[in-house]
Amino acid sequence: MYTLLPVLNVFSRILFAFAFSFLVPLAWAWSEDHEQYRYVWEGAFALAALSGLAVWATTRRYRRELQARDGFLLVNLVWIVLPAYAAVPLLFTVPDIGWTKAYFESMSALTATGATALSGLDSLPVSVNVWRCFLQLMGGLGIMLLVVAVLPMLGLGGYQVYKAETPGPMKDAKFTPRIAETARGLWGVYFGFSVACMLAYRWAGMGWADAFMHMCTTMGLGGFSSHDASLGYFNSPMIEAVATVFMAMAGINFVRYFIVIRSRSLRPIVRDREIHSYVTVLLVSIGLIASLLVAHGVHDSAAEALRTSAFHVLSLATTTGYASTDYAQWPVFAPVLLMFLGCFVSCAGSTGGGIKMVRMVLLIKQARRELVRSIHPRVVNPVTMGGTVLPLSVMNATYGFMLIYGAVTMGLTMLLLFTGLDIVTAFSAVVATVNNIGPGLGLVGPASNFGVLGDFQIWVLSFAMLLGRLELLTVLVLFTGSFWRK
């Protein structure tokens, strides 16, 4: 029997480190909430730190270097157990929340989804909103590590493509040095952008608390807000512009920035095929939706239509999920296109969710190749990326990912339909959570929230967020028999 204990040991250290993040809302509770909720944050800190220590002490004897299989378990443990700890303070601070919604909320935060089950955000204590948003920033950190350092090692879903270009010791089979190296490089860039983003929000007219919270949810491409009306609350073109720019930047692979800074040349970004497609798709969609809005008379001036369109395209396509108006009221093509964009636009190595642009590029190249092959069966035309031929295993893994992505989306939609939800709500809720976008359509549209759903439906969607964030296979592989076999 395969033993969990060495993984638990590593996990206990992560949990212990995670405990310190409770100090952030604690600080805000001191300054903004008149120390009213101090005990909640202190208690949560103590709970996480002590249970981390306890697990560490009991599993100390089983320490060993982690292997690929342990990696899967660890990643799952982190994203399943940390939301539970993160949910505890919500139980004591948000009226009538209950376990289901609290867990959903913190899962939504840590997976940088941005789907909320709460209403009346404006009247919540500042420290609670800070906590929800700060979790998204932390989720973003975790995702970056996951995608750039962990998943390629596991050979998952075609991420081997990135093996060749990530910073740090590539061929090293051991996790720890690789992860440490990556963390240093990427997190540096991430924090640099975060500070710039916060200052920009402050300059555009937000208060410090709002600037901090919205910075967290912008950089994590999460989309939580401290207001029910999301960014629409501020009603400020300036703030929307800042958000648009930083979402666009956060939707790009952070490894690229890292390389740009290290090599002091813009070439890695300008020459990148994934970024080309990213920019092209975004520009075309912005134009398309803007002209639709003008044609249907939603906006009279082209400039205003362009601004609204740019903000919402960026927000949904990068899987952030801010809204400044109820875009579900737009002509039906627009909201559906926005959801669809959320499925694939963000780049791998960003904090966005979904299929990722790099896979899309690969798939389109492969589809084109199949077309050529049906005319010239004996032609040799391997799929290339940036000049190098991709091995068959990468294509196989990419396809495997797509298959399971389609099956999961369909399966979970059928499950929700079975509970009696209508098709638009069920399908959009699944798409919004599997791709970690946030708002869906119908009952769970931008003007509403996920609190209207039943408990079972909320648990299904919590699971969907987890699946999407961990690129499906990481979770599903735990359900295969061969994983647990010796």
Partner: protein, 492 residues
């Protein structure tokens, strides 16, 4: 002039001329029953025959002993399925121009395409009042379409290697390794069409014994065997209110969802076990019958129906009808709990076997995909394990798997693209999505406006054309039609 283009014309001409002759069937019925559609058919026949003759005359340019190549095959298939609906729409146009409600060309072409692709979506209402020969023609088109598909799926597509259809080659009849199209097609046609005709006769007899009038029996047999689903009644099979007829329909829809080559092999080898052992056959049957019973249970639990026997029959009929891409209905199943209709639509994409007259992804591809997904999962844990995908004991080549995956990709892309296109014309989401899925899978009714209680008449011209293209794409397995639009195809 590009040579392949010219080379296919004589063949196309011959097909058109034969097609003109098939109009004798509704013409005969019309004359026999004096139903007032008499002039429509001779006119259409004449035009079609002359057009065929004209195309046939290209033979003087290319010489009589031409041999078709792969590329010609792709082009021919594309042209057959775009031109024949044109000819097939002529009788409809001619008949309706004489009535108070003339039919637009868009609608007539849609109806004919829906017939020849065995889809079963209709833009006509008041079917019961139409002349018997017009209804017969609509359904007879489906039967002819079914014949075309059998040859297409078993003899032509595998040669072209479209979407992993190499898979289907193993079971097909006739000389396998033969590189030339013509002998292969003749051989296949002989075998499969004889099975098809035998089953058709059995089906007519079944309907007739169950009490259907002779003309209706023939009309509905045409729509059943081809898994088409057009009917001569607005309320489809619900018109008859006859359990016996419904059971006959269930049995023959199930039979027609299987690979006809399998029947042929079993007949010639006198070994019914061949059918039983086929993994695709098992998959299709288990899924169709299992889903029918599952929905029956759902209806009983939710209290939609209370009598178990009726629930089983009604659920089986409608589930099998939609899942096998037929599209008959006895009740408005969109009033069932919302899970049921969507589940049925989902099934329509996957439940039928390759080499049947059904459409969609096909069970063979699903089996491959399922095995491939399983293999990728185990590869994550054991990266160096060698575990090839097998089907019926044979290892499936990785090129084939890639074709199947490529097909899925294009299938998904087409559905999303066409749905977005329909949304752009301001159709509601569920109508748009279900109309596209119903058309691409050649199933027929969708949901809401285009559901079993409505039809496609409410769509605008643009929307109707989008659905027409969707039916064509679905029938030709996407790639064999899309490839015509790549520059590589037209290059020397």
């Amino acid at each position: 002039m590009f040579m392949p283009f010219l080379r296919v014309f004589p063949v196309l001409g011959a097909i058109a001329m034969v097609f003109a002759l098939t109009m004798l069937v509704p013409l005969g019925v019309s004359l026999w029953t004096h139903d007032g559609a008499g002039t429509a058919f001779p006119l259409a026949m004449l035009v079609t025959f002359m057009a065929g003759l004209l195309m046939r005359s290209a033979v003087w340019r290319v010489g009589p002993r031409l041999e078709l190549q792969t590329r010609d095959g792709i082009l021919l298939v594309g042209l057959v399925w775009t031109l024949l609906p044109l000819f097939a729409s002529l009788p409809l146009l001619a008949y309706f121009s004489g009535t108070a409600t003339p039919m637009s060309f868009t609608d007539a072409y849609f109806e004919a395409m829906s017939g020849l692709t065995t889809t079963g979506a209709t833009v006509l209402t008041g079917l019961d009042a139409l002349p018997g020969s017009i209804n017969l023609w609509r359904c007879f088109l489906q039967w002819l379409g079914g014949m075309g598909i059998l040859v297409l799926a078993v003899a032509i597509l595998p040669m072209l290697g479209v979407g992993g259809s190499q898979l289907f080659r193993a079971e097909s009849t006739g000389p396998m390794k033969e590189a030339k199209l013509t002998p292969r097609i003749t051989e296949t046609a002989k075998g499969l069409w004889s099975v098809y005709c035998l089953l058709s006769l059995a089906c007519v007899a079944g309907y007739w014994l169950a009490g259907m009038p002779a003309l209706d029996a023939w009309t509905h047999m045409f729509a059943t065997l081809s898994l088409g689903g057009l009917s001569s009644h607005d309320s489809s099979f619900g018109y008859f209110q006859s359990p016996a007829m419904e059971w006959v329909a269930i049995v023959f829809m199930l039979l027609a969802s299987c690979n006809f080559a399998l029947y042929f092999v079993a007949l010639t080898k006198r070994n019914p076990m061949r059918i039983w052992r086929d993994p695709e056959w098992r998959g299709s049957m288990a899924l169709l019958i299992g889903s029918g019973l599952f929905i029956a249970g759902l209806l009983l639990v939710k209290g939609t129906l209370t009598d178990p026997a009726e629930a089983v029959r009604t659920a089986l009929f409608n589930v099998v009808s939609i899942a096998s891409t037929t599209g008959f209905s006895t009740v408005d199943y969109t009033t069932w709990p919302v899970f049921a209709p969507l589940f049925m639509i989902l099934l329509s994409g996957i439940a039928t076997s390759a080499g049947s007259t059904g459409a969609g992804i096909k069970m063979a591809r699903m089996v491959i995909l399922f095995k491939q997904a399983k293999r990728e999962m185990s590869r994550i844990v054991h990266p160096r394990a060698v575990n090839p995908v097998t089907l019926g004991g044979h290892v499936v080549e990785s090129a084939t798997i890639f074709s199947v995956l490529g097909f899925m990709l294009v299938y998904g892309g087409v559905i999303i693209g066409l749905t977005l296109l329909l949304l752009l014309t301001d159709l509601p989401f569920d109508t748009a999505f279900s109309a596209v899925v119903a058309s691409v899978n050649n199933m027929g009714p969708g949901l809401n406006e285009v559901g079993p209680a409505g039809n496609f008449a409410g769509l605008s011209d643009v929307q109707t054309w989008v659905c027409t293209v969707a039916m064509l794409l679905g029938r030709l397995e996407m790639l064999s039609f899309l490839v015509l639009f790549t520059p590589g195809f037209w290059r020397k």
